[in-house]
């Protein structure tokens, strides 16, 4: 069946709550209102206020409570109204949740999820992609799906995982992307990338909304005879090193594309992996396309300038192809 990205996530959580009584949701305005983006719409009627809990506006308490409940064998799914607000709970995530299994052997099977990303003129506090804050935190799994099939399969995998998973939903994709999702139960494994488009000339390594940007660029470049391979990472921690190396060995030229700021971004880490494991396979410099090193500005022309665009990918791909 054809589902929006948003509906796929909603179905995924619904099915897990239906299947497993230990799964419950907590967050701001997720109950009767159904969440700011309606991911939990209808949940409170079906699962009751005990399992769909509206919380105070207190992100540290939400994460702390989710963690505490997970210690009793529950599988909480905590919503951030916008992932920008995950910063309010940073200490709880970084110092409490992420370190718990390594330090004292307690598993923390919880999911922290919410909308992230730009292209919707949300301004500096409703457009961020803060995944790198957590990629640098050993003990967390960080998931950033690009298509409805993966969004549903990965949210279900995250809920079933025995570790803390941070699930970034790209809000630009929520209702703009529709795709085929099977009716039967399935999960997408965490930590595995997928080839979103096979190609032979150069590889775009990317994830989340940028997968669609790369796909659009591939259409344009295809007409010029430049054949892009697009690797959708799906999970940014742990990274699928094997898939990264494989695509480099195949095309020998790499563009790394991400939405968040360039410095200290995902591209640096991927470039280092390629340097370590596939240096001899490179036929050109590793190219980064990323957001500017600033906050994400509000005004549409400024936001457009800040964010990576199809034309950036087209330009850089042409340049690299000619190298």
């Amino acid at each position: 069946m054809q589902l929006t990205y948003l509906e796929a996530i909603r179905q995924g959580i619904w099915e897990e709550m239906d299947r497993d009584p230990t799964v419950f949701c907590l967050g701001e305005d997720i109950g009767i209102y159904g969440g700011a983006f309606k991911v939990t719409d209808g949940f409170i009627d079906r699962f009751g206020p005990e399992r769909v809990i509206d919380t105070p506006i207190a992100e540290s308490a939400i994460v702390g409570a989710a963690f505490g409940a997970s210690l009793t064998g529950m599988r909480p799914v905590a919503e951030f109204q916008f992932m920008d607000f995950i910063g309010c709970a940073f200490n709880q995530i970084s110092n409490m949740v992420a370190k718990t299994h390594y330090l004292w052997g307690a598993p923390a099977p919880l999911v922290l999820r919410g909308p992230s990303g730009g292209y919707v003129h949300g301004g500096p506090f409703h457009s961020q992609n803060p995944e790198m804050w957590f990629v640098h935190n050993p003990g967390l799994k960080v998931i950033c799906p690009a298509i409805p099939y993966d969004a549903k399969g990965l949210i279900k995998a995250a809920i079933r995982d025995n570790n803390p998973c941070i699930f970034f939903e790209h809000k630009y994709l929520y209702r703009r992307i529709k795709g085929e999702v099977p009716a039967e139960d399935y999960v997408v494994p965490i930590g595995k990338a997928r080839v979103a488009r096979e190609g032979r000339d150069l590889s775009i390594i990317t994830y989340a909304a940028m997968v669609h940007t790369a796909l659009e660029a591939a259409e344009i470049l295809g007409k010029e005879g430049i054949d892009l391979e697009i690797l959708d990472l799906r999970t940014v921690s742990p990274l699928d090193r094997e898939a990264i190396v494989q695509t480099v060995k195949k095309t020998n030229k790499v563009v790394i594309l991400h939405e968040h700021s360039r410095t200290g971004g995902m591209a640096g880490e991927i470039a280092a992996i390629i340097n370590e494991e596939a240096f001899d396979d490179l036929d050109g410099p590793i190219v980064r396309i990323a957001g500017l090193d600033s906050a994400i500005p509000f005004s549409p022309p400024q936001e457009h300038h800040y964010l990576p665009k199809v034309e950036d990918v087209v330009r850089e791909a042409r340049r690299l192809k000619a190298y």
């Binding site: 948003l6 230990t22 991911v39 505490g68 409940a69 009793t72 709880q92 409490m96 330090l103 307690a106």
Partner: protein, 455 residues
């Protein structure tokens, strides 16, 4: 543990009235807690004040020490100006008696006393291990706070949960950890509960002793413990979840978030606010402005109570009542325990910033000396002979535990690796108190506006 009670039914999450909107009088009576419900003052002469609301905070103490610490500029011998802390107030007040417990019997009181001795002697052993160069890093002490650590944890049932702070090493002993566990943590040994990965009382046990590991950041345990109670309630159990915060730690924002969450959700948090007067080197006068931290409870809409933290009976009674409330599904309680940290922040800190008169005042209120006097002289529950034998037995235990700890090897360097994730079946995740019974509404899955595609 100190008491055995019947299981109570879990209350459901849902809407509860605010304070005063529904006065649960029966509970107040049963509790000996006065809910901080608002009362209108009708006797006030001043018309403009006729709408004044009054709140009450029960205070179990038999004395009310009244002094203030402030910064004061003084000249040293060379005539240089120096800023020092000085204390003003009545520091010669006589030591009050121990308040008879409403709940503790002879055997329980002696058992708490024994844990307090274990607590203190373990810390003396730790100090010696430090002096012998066997400790990695520093040592933290709960000197002067043994009654608070031990009598509080003693009020918990086996299934209840707790999370200590750095000075609650006595709570760990009450909950069944060996002194060697804490000693090995300090010595960073392979045999320590964290296998060398963390020190001090930073360890936990979700299987048997229901302890959440503290982290160094203050206040973060409060919402976590609320979450433990939430998880248990979803599984049909109203548990008490006890943790501690200092007068310094309560300044953090997450403290507010955590207590408020527990209050809104009516979760069985038993929060001991240990007002030990010094947060590292900062006096409580520079942490908060209200008179007593128990007053904070009024703002949260939960019961608050003040006890003398050096009186094991008062600590136990308040903890017991709060635990009972939690088991009845009546929500959180804030207990402020007043005492003083009788050493520096950690072993490196001589606490020279503390005016000596304050040490003298609180030294006369040593929780162990006071409780000993109470048990031997006032209650005659301990004979002089038993009172002589008890420390000997405790010292023997501590010596055995010290041997175990010292003989544990250091971890191998490679043991730093692995265990970041729970994988390959290292844990089976299952609800600890049974599968939640779920009610499902009639609403089946239907596509909502989430399915609307914007193309």
């Amino acid at each position: 543990m100190g008491n055995n009670k019947k299981k109570s039914k879990a209350s459901s999450n849902g809407n509860r009235p605010r304070n005063g909107a529904r006065a649960s009088k029966a509970h107040v009576a049963a509790d000996a807690f006065v809910r901080p419900s608002a009362e209108r003052s009708s006797t006030n002469q001043n018309n403009s004040n006729s709408d004044l609301r009054t709140y009450s905070i029960p205070d179990y103490r038999l004395e009310h020490p009244d002094f203030t610490v402030r910064q004061h500029v003084e000249k040293d011998r060379q005539g240089q100006e120096r800023v020092r802390y000085e204390v003003e107030g009545d520091l010669d007040a006589p030591v009050p008696p121990i308040r008879d417990s409403k709940y503790l019997n002879k055997q329980q009181a002696i058992e708490i006393y024994r844990y307090m001795l274990l607590n203190r002697k373990m810390e003396i052993a730790l100090e010696n291990l430090y002096k012998q160069g066997k400790v990695v890093g520093g040592v933290y002490f709960g000197l002067g706070q043994e009654a608070c650590s031990c009598a509080s944890a003693y009020a918990l049932d086996k299934d209840d949960w707790f999370a200590p702070m750095i000075r609650n090493q006595g709570s760990l002993l009450v909950r069944g950890f060996g002194a060697s566990d804490t000693m090995m943590q300090y010595m960073a040994k392979a045999g320590s509960p964290t296998k060398g990965r963390d020190g001090t009382s930073h360890f936990g046990d979700i299987e048997k002793r229901n302890m959440v590991s503290p982290i160094s950041m203050l206040g973060d345990l409060i919402p976590v413990m609320a979450g433990v109670a939430l998880g248990a309630r979803l599984q049909g159990r109203n548990l008490a979840v006890m943790t501690y915060i200092g007068d310094g730690g309560q300044s953090t924002g997450v403290t507010y978030e955590g207590i408020n969450f527990a209050a809104v959700q009516n979760l069985g948090l038993v929060l001991f606010v240990e007002s030990n007067l010094w947060a590292y080197s900062t006096p409580s006068e520079m942490q908060y402005r209200c008179k007593d931290l128990a007053e904070r409870a009024i703002g949260y809409g939960i019961p608050g109570v003040i006890v003398d933290g050096t009186d094991a009976c008062q600590v136990y009674d308040a903890a017991h009542e709060a635990v009972e409330r939690a088991h009845r599904g009546e929500g959180p309680t804030l207990i402020e325990a007043k005492m003083m940290r009788m050493k520096g922040h950690a072993i490196h800190d001589a606490a020279s910033y503390v005016p000596k008169a304050m040490f003298d005042f609180w030294k006369r209120r040593d929780p162990i000396a006071r409780f000993e006097n109470y048990l031997v002289k006032e209650k005659k529950w301990l004979t002089p002979k038993e009172n002589q034998d008890l420390p000997t037995e405790v010292e023997r235990i501590i010596e055995e535990e010290r041997e175990i700890a010292v003989n544990s090897p250091m971890p191998t360097p490679e043991s730093a690796e692995g265990g970041v994730f729970c994988e390959d079946g290292c844990h089976e995740i299952k609800p600890k108190y049974g599968m939640p019974k779920v009610k499902k509404g009639t609403g089946g899955f239907k596509e909502t506006e989430a399915a609307v595609h914007l193309k």
